[in-house]
C-alpha cells in the first residue's frame, strides 16, 4: 500500500513536470521584453530613414516588422512575454533586412547612374575617338 502510494506520487510528479516543460516550450510568462521592443523600434526607424517604404521588397519587410511589433504588444498585454520577445526579434530582423534591401537598391541605382554617364561620354566621344589613341 505504501509502495503503491509512492508510485502514484512519482507519477504525479512526472505528469506535473511534463506539463510545465510543455508550457515553457510553447511560450509563457517571462520578464517584459523591453530591450527587444526598443531594439525592434530602432531598427524600424532606421529602415524608415533609409527610405525602405519606397523600395517594394524593403517595404514588404518593413510592414512585416511593424505587424510583428503590433502582435508583440498584444502578447505583452496578455502577459505572454516570451512569445512577445520572439516576435520582437523577428520584427528587428525584418526591419534590418529592409534596411539592407534599401541600401542594395540605392547602391545599384547609384552605380547604374554613373555607368549611364560613362556610356553617354563614350557615345559623345564616338567610337573612333575612343579607339583612336
Amino acid at each position: 500500500m505504501e509502495a503503491r502510494g509512492e508510485k502514484m506520487t512519482k507519477l504525479g510528479l512526472l505528469l506535473g513536470s511534463t506539463l510545465l516543460f510543455a508550457a515553457v516550450g510553447c511560450g509563457g510568462a517571462g520578464p517584459k521584453p523591453t530591450g527587444q521592443l526598443v531594439a525592434a523600434e530602432a531598427a524600424i526607424r532606421g529602415a524608415e530613414e533609409a527610405g525602405a517604404q519606397d523600395e517594394p521588397q524593403a517595404a514588404l519587410h518593413l510592414k512585416m516588422a511593424r505587424d510583428q511589433i503590433a502582435e508583440a504588444q498584444v502578447l505583452i498585454a496578455n502577459e505572454n512575454n516570451n512569445k512577445a520577445g520572439d516576435a520582437l526579434v523577428r520584427a528587428k530582423v525584418d526591419a534590418e533586412l529592409a534596411i539592407v534591401l534599401t541600401r542594395s537598391a540605392n547602391q545599384e541605382a547609384d552605380a547604374r547612374r554613373v555607368i549611364r554617364q560613362v556610356e553617354e561620354l563614350q557615345s559623345e566621344a564616338g567610337p573612333a575617338a575612343e579607339g583612336g589613341e
Binding site: A3, E6, K7, K10, L11, L14, S17, T18, F21, A22, G25, C26, G27, H61, K83, D86, V89, R90, V93, D94, E96, L97, V100, L101, R103, S104, Q107, E108, D110, A111, V114, I115, Q117, V118, L121, Q122, A125, A129
Partner: protein, 318 residues
C-alpha cells in the same frame, strides 16, 4: 520495485512523445523549407565570393533552425529560428549585391574620370590648335594689312601724281588755248596792215610787194619795216610749234630765174627782219616762188601789183 523502475525509464519517453504529438510531425515547417531555399540562393549569389562573412551568419542561423527542427520538428522554436534564418540569407544576398554594385560604381567612377580627363585634354589640344591657327591668321592679316597699307599709300601717291599732272596738263592746255587766242587776236589785228586769209595750209598774211620793196630790189622800205614790226609782234605771240614760211612772189615780167631769185631774196629779207624782232630762226623759213603762183591777171597793172607780194604762212595749231 521493478514496476517502479520501468515507470521511471518510460516517463521521459512518454513525455517526449506527448510533446511531439502536441507540436507537430517530423516534416520541416514551411519556414524551414523557405529558409533552406533562401540559403541555397545565397550560396549561389555574389555573397559567396564578395561577402562570405554574411553568408556564414546565414549558415549559422540556418544551423540553429535545423537543430531546433531536429530537437522538435515544426516547433515554434524551429519556426521562429527558420524565419530569422531565411531573412539572414536574404540579407546576405543583398549584402553581396551591395558589394557588387559598389565595385561597379568604383570602376564606373574611374572610367568616368578617365574619359573626362581624356576629353579635357582633347579639348585643350583643340583649343591650343585653334589659338595657334588664330595667331597665324592674325599675323597673316597683319602682313596683308601692311602690304595693303603700302599699296594703298603707293596708289594714293600715284593718284596724287596723276592729279598733279592732270592739273599741269589742264593748266598747260589752258595756257596754250590762251596763247592761241592771243595769237589769233594778234594776227586778226594785222588786218589793218595786211590781208589775212585762213587756208588749209594755215593762216596766210599777204603783204603787197609795192609796200615792202622798191621795184627790182630786195631792200625793205622804211614803211615796210613799220608793218613788219606789227607782224613780228603778232607772230611772237604764236606758239613755237607753229612753223612760219615766208614766200616771195613776183609778177610775170622778166625771166623766171630772175623772178625766182628776186622773190627768194625778198623772202630772205623779210625772214631776217622777223628774226631780228624776236621770232626764233628755227621756226621760220624763206622760200622764193617767183611768178609760179599768181593770184591775179599779169596782163593788167592791178593784177601784176597783186601778184607782187610776200605771203607769211603760219602753220595751223597741231
Amino acid at each position: 520495485m521493478s514496476h517502479l523502475r520501468i515507470g521511471s525509464v518510460l516517463a521521459p519517453v512518454v513525455g517526449a512523445l506527448l510533446l511531439a504529438a502536441g507540436c507537430g510531425s517530423s516534416a520541416p515547417s514551411k519556414q524551414l523549407v523557405d529558409a533552406r531555399a533562401a540559403y541555397d540562393r545565397a550560396t549561389a549569389s555574389k555573397a559567396e565570393s564578395l561577402t562570405p562573412d554574411r553568408l556564414l551568419e546565414a549558415k549559422q542561423a540556418l544551423d540553429d533552425a535545423e537543430r531546433a527542427h531536429r530537437s522538435e520538428a515544426r516547433s515554434a522554436r524551429e519556426i521562429h529560428l527558420a524565419y530569422i534564418a531565411e531573412r539572414k540569407s536574404l540579407a546576405a544576398i543583398a549584402y553581396g549585391e551591395i558589394a557588387h554594385w559598389k565595385r561597379q560604381k568604383v570602376a564606373a567612377d574611374e572610367e568616368y574620370t578617365r574619359l573626362l580627363e581624356k576629353r579635357r585634354s582633347a579639348t585643350e589640344s583643340a583649343l591650343a590648335a585653334n589659338q595657334r591657327r588664330l595667331a597665324e591668321t592674325r599675323a597673316e592679316l597683319a602682313r596683308k594689312g601692311d602690304t595693303l597699307d603700302s599699296q594703298g599709300k603707293a596708289l594714293k601717291e600715284r593718284e596724287a601724281e596723276l592729279a598733279r599732272k592732270q592739273k599741269e596738263l589742264e593748266a598747260a592746255e589752258k595756257a596754250r588755248l590762251a596763247a592761241e587766242k592771243k595769237a589769233a587776236d594778234a594776227l586778226k589785228s594785222l588786218e589793218e596792215v595786211a590781208k589775212i586769209k585762213e587756208e588749209q595750209r594755215g593762216m596766210v598774211i599777204t603783204l603787197s610787194g609795192a609796200v615792202l620793196f622798191k621795184s627790182d630790189t630786195h631792200q625793205l622800205l622804211p614803211i615796210a619795216e613799220n608793218k613788219l614790226e606789227q607782224v613780228a609782234a603778232a607772230l611772237v605771240d604764236t606758239p613755237d610749234e607753229r612753223q612760219i614760211v615766208v614766200e616771195g612772189h613776183t609778177d610775170s615780167r622778166g625771166s623766171n630765174a630772175y623772178n625766182e631769185n628776186l622773190s627768194r631774196k625778198r623772202a630772205e629779207a623779210v625772214r631776217t627782219f622777223l628774226i631780228s624782232k624776236g621770232i626764233s630762226a628755227n621756226r621760220i623759213v624763206a622760200v622764193g616762188k617767183g611768178e609760179s603762183q599768181p593770184v591775179a591777171n599779169n596782163r593788167t597793172a592791178d593784177g601784176r601789183a597783186n601778184n607782187r607780194r610776200v605771203e607769211i604762212v603760219v602753220a595751223p595749231p597741231r
